[in-house]
Point group: D2
């Protein structure tokens, strides 16, 4: 395990300029690193569908409160199948309603580029004041209405370390990422959607829930940022927050979030459920698959709950 | 245009038994006609990705009230990018919240098999009382957590009739469906996800909104039911409610909904936005594509808002 | 009927300074004109309870959409009394849930002093930037947690004009207010909670709903502002928005809202249901009563739905 | 302290018939014990307003999750006072939105008579099936639209025991209630709204939060039921759930809730904040006051959040 503080806070702060993709895809760009996904990349990704076997990478919507879920999803029924109810309507039916705050540590969601700011600006230099109570004028989730379709790659850190899970606070290093490439016989390439597994849900199952902001969470150390930039990934998912918590930096609480989203224009997929896909990869002995993410078209939204699919 | 009343109400009612798939996939089955999608079917569907060109088949979440939208989606901001706000937190960010009643005529959504009942029962004979305020014990949307992946087929009725749209109340007949097959050089096959376009959104754009329950809506006539059953489609989508409104039957208000969902176990995709995919089909001169639908994992839910993707 | 444009827009604008109560109750004041209600005033108000007869001045929460209700209250059940449900829990019970956007023209609510701004400032000079997504730092509704208890006075304009209701767009003048005093044998005094009835709900009953922002609404003309200031009322309620719509002023859309709330620090009670209290007043031949308003303690809130009570 | 198990479960169960008020006020009655409040009682209550001093008996709406608050109130802003926002609208304003599940142990609320069932029936014999997803056909909260106005009486158990608070699980006995009457020089009478203080919020302040369903809560023992019935109180409030937790009875988890609401038709005010009113009572050396409760008019609702006022 690499300590997350290989780098000083000043060095991390420099990444906002040295790893910046601002302007790279034009001054009006709304897609950021998703521009790395070409039509060819999508077509190639589809060729990874060999067995016709899909796996969800989503948690269930989190309706129960818990240390990492201060605003549980409200799921309520507008109409049930109780006999007194169904007899009242011409078409007997049931219907439900739900309310969700997609961000946080409980629900699988896709962060829009407007989700994080640095010094009053978001990706591509748009001002943070573009996000008002009327939603986001730039960097909103509906820019992704045609979805994310590319090669998905799973980096399964517990697997290569021969452990069940990483412990809260453990930082993943670039060497770890490369060890996983080595192990799996693949190389992370331009336009890939990279998923990094820490074993968070195996630990939840084994040891019960904990408060990740207080007690920590495994994730990528800030030292991985140049690596992610160099590999030109299109999007980054993990079973946690991508970031290791605590980051070790006083003023940059979530360096992965901040630098990938703001500087590099990388969309994050937080709180993915990666246990099933990890099992599938081991069984099939391949860690690459077609990845499809289809966010809801929430105009001016900062995120969407999603159910990312890995298709083998 | 075929009148929807080619069949008597009694004849339609018989479809609940003559077109039934109850028990076909076991007494505990939760997937219904999605069982027609085999791994091979999925793998073949992926081979339709040639240009690497994805198209959303979803409307934006409907936040504005209107005649077809009595319960608008509430989209609110929990945190904006206003300077006073972002200076208060260690990671300056924005976040939103939304509440949705997915059913109805306003939002693109996937109906679960528990959504409609007939005579106190849902698909496969489960009692309607399985759906309580705690959600659905059977036929719930989370049974589809691994998504729907298959060949998508677009039947574009205005195209083959050389019109901009069908008028409210116009019923589509089996002959119309077959004319579209003929026109497009394809045949609807086992396991396909069938999308039927009536031009609803072109009409909305051209003539403004109307109240579909009061003034009618174009859609499939009840006479299409044996055809859909015979073709063994896996799921059915449309730019409206699939059903023509009014149906012409006093006690079976929505025969397509009722018979496909309850008897045949067919999941419906209501209120899809099919204009962009229709244009793509014309441009590419092919009406088949890889279709991916990834519902949110709403445990015991009766539906999910979705963003169905057509990938060419 | 007085035309609302007796005054020029410039004259109305001057009211922001000439009718200002800023600083009158200290630079930290949160109560505004409610300071006019002394303990003695409350005790006197209680002496108006003679028959022990209470009347609600609230509409039902507005769950149905309509031209004046774009964001209907969502009222959903978390648990019903269906037998299958009550048998599952140790204490059989039912429970509900509701979501409300209290402002607007549909629900009876109490506006907090932070609800309206003029030139970047709210009552007492607090900056509008005090109201963020975290709520209001000043002028919030929870400052009124001990309620509003005072003499209530009803001015029933249709009654004195011998009509069923005022028409949309009709402006009430100071002369009208004084005619009502004359008619009822009372005088509006310091600390009173004044309710002004236009007959809006009688008209709704008789002629159906209309879009008040488009088609107009009866209410107080801007010429009433000096009168309200001179009488030192503590709060102002009406069966509409207090303001006549349209106001006739291009840049001051709601002069009563703006000047009473921002300059005078008067809390408004919008969309009261005044028909029952009006009948009670006629029956008892008195237009004064004990008034009790008990807002929910919504910390940093901009309003509360309320059920104002008139007690005779 | 009396043990709560002075009575056997069978004896408590008998209270459903021996303490029943079913039919007492007619077979269509919706008000239950509120019928004890006569116009004269209200008028007398108003004479208790001497100093003109009101005190809220409500907690703030509970927006923070906690062991007793699994479904926090969502309070969100629809519009803030940020300059970019207020410049966009003709009337610069702020507005909020909130969603609440009023029942539970976190929010001050008034239970409707439809809230609890016993053996498939609610108060007055109405079937529990009257409560569907469309709300309650009988026993709903909107029957109380004209509010509860009566004499309020505070019984402050920690005061008479010379302690700061009762401990979780401590049961209050009839002897305790009578000791408080003795101490305060009053007698609980027909039509009173009785508030019983256990010191719950003093304990919260002193020792932090706990999980009341798991760790217990002080409250009335089942032995108080005949006493409450004999005194003919109109409504019952407390700073907890009225009931002591755990009740000691396996199948009657909340005997006070069950017997008062179902058998006696007594409306409960749960989770009141009684510290300020307790201080006022001590200061004024009187434990009786005018009590006003004004529930929101939620048609067919099972409860309303309320801000009960004590007026001295």
């Amino acid at each position: 395990m690499a300590a997350n503080t290989d780098l000083t806070e000043g060095q991390v702060r420099e990444f906002f300029s040295t790893l910046s993709n601002w302007g790279k895809w034009g001054s009006n760009d709304q897609l950021g690193a998703l521009n790395y996904i070409t039509p060819q990349k999508r077509a190639q990704a589809a060729t990874l569908v060999r067995e016709g076997y899909p796996v969800s990478m989503s948690l269930p919507l989190a309706t129960q409160p818990g240390p990492d879920n201060p605003t549980p999803v409200m799921h309520l029924m507008m109409q049930t199948g109780a006999s007194g109810e169904t007899s009242m309507v011409p078409v007997p039916y049931s219907a439900d309603y739900f309310a969700i705050a997609p961000h946080g540590l409980a629900n699988t969601h896709l962060d829009a580029l407007c989700h994080v700011f640095n010094q009053g600006k978001m990706y591509n230099g748009y001002p943070s004041s573009d996000v008002t109570t009327q939603g986001a004028k730039n960097g909103a989730i509906d820019a992704l209405k045609d979805g994310i379709i590319s090669r998905g790659v799973l980096i399964d850190i517990p697997l290569i370390k021969n452990r069940d899970w990483l412990e809260p606070g453990e930082a993943i290093s670039p060497a770890d990422l490369e060890a996983a490439e080595q192990y799996g016989g693949f190389s992370v390439e331009e336009g890939d959607v990279l998923f990094v597994r820490t074993g968070r849900h195996a630990r939840l199952k084994g040891k019960g829930s904990w408060d990740s902001f207080k007690e920590g969470m495994a994730g990528l150390g800030a030292a991985c940022l140049p690596w992610l930039h160099g590999r030109k990934i299109a999007a980054l998912g993990s079973d946690g927050a991508s970031d290791v918590l605590p980051s070790g930096y006083e003023k940059i609480m979530l360096p992965i979030h901040a630098v990938t989203i703001v500087a590099m224009g990388i969309h994050l997929l937080d709180n993915c459920m990666l246990d099933a896909v990890a099992e599938a990869c081991v069984a099939k002995k391949r860690w690459t698959f077609m990845c499809v993410v289809a966010p809801l078209v929430l105009v001016r939204g900062t995120a969407s709950p999603v159910n990312p699919l890995a298709i083998f």
